[in-house]
Amino acid sequence: MTATVDWAPVLDADPLLQITQDLFATMIDDEPGYVSHWEGERPELEDARHTWVDVADEQIVRVVIGTGRETGEAITRALLRMAPGEEVTDEDFVDAVGEVANVVCGNVKSLVTHPGTLTIPVVADAPPPLGDGERLVDACLSWRGAPLTVSLWVLP
């Protein structure tokens, strides 16, 4: 780990929970109270989508968000103020969940005062290759009862 980055502020699930709660309370739900730690056994994501954003520097920091497609669509509708049940195009989906990952990753970057820059979000059906990466945090959260995973990696 480089001397410039102090990981301590994010080294458990709570800072990621707080960041996610703030994001959902302001831009998605318009009020707090809908995001919490997942209680009980960790569920499988149905029709999973994985979204990641890196902070690129000597080391790569990667935030990966996992949701089921349906949950991702609900997030998209809320973020874009669409009608309930309105069809979500792939383009809207990628942009919206990408923005969620971007805000979470940007807030992580501020917390650890990382000097790098944020990359453009990538959305895929499979988790990103993480190779010899070290997983610093792996949180499973609940948004309105649906699972949402948020993990933080450092790649060599």
């Binding site: 502020p9 800072p15 703030d22 302001t26 009020e31 109270g33 807030n107 501020s110 917390l111």
Partner: protein, 270 residues
Amino acid sequence: MTIAPDSFDFVATLVRRRSAIQLDSGKEYLVESRLAPLARSAGAADVESYIRSVRANVTLHDKVVEALTTNETSWFRDRHPFTVLKDTVIPDAITRRGKHLKVWSAACSSGQEPYSIAMTIAEHFPDVRASIVATDLSEEVLAKGRSGQYSQLEVNRGLPAPMLVRHFERKGAFFEANERLRSMVSFRRHNLLDAPPLGGPYDVVFLRNVLIYFDVATKRDVMRRVRSVLAPGGWVFLGAAESTIGVDDIWERVPVAGGALYRPREGKAA
């Protein structure tokens, strides 16, 4: 929809018993707007049905009292008072009292108001020494005020970015008021129904958006206690929707720049 009279009475009685705050009829809108978010997150159809569930469940009572007694707070709230403070009140106080001012920020909640006063003084009157006494009923909000730490969401809300970087420093997830700012403000627990806090006489008192909760007799008492610690020539700020008119004629309402300030009438000073 409006809430039923007996539901309103229930809430008013509950709040009066717990906090001495009086919700007269006519305050239905306040009950509705403050309880609507609670009703929503409890999944109730509306505020009326939420109150019915509160009546059946004593564990919800604290939440209701808190929702009705906690002051919404933001930086430079309503802005106008801080302009008047800068342009009129502080220059006036300096001519009378020199460069040491005492300010009381009553019902200060988590500290945004006293720190906004402190920033106004630090930015525009750098050679003035100010001591700001900030009081509230709740130890919890006072502890937050003392820490001087506010989240990113809290500083986003109404604190101009140039002031944020001049007076705060990022510490992890929080922005913390700098030493200068924190040294200007002291936080103390105080109930407005008790004797006023020591540390006066005060050149300026901020008592905003709190009289609305009291009945006329209590308003008069609270204001008389304020007068008893006001420096000669001192000024009182009330909330935009508040006034001493019809409460007590010892107060003079002085229109200033589209708003108003209050001071004891001459010849009736304490």
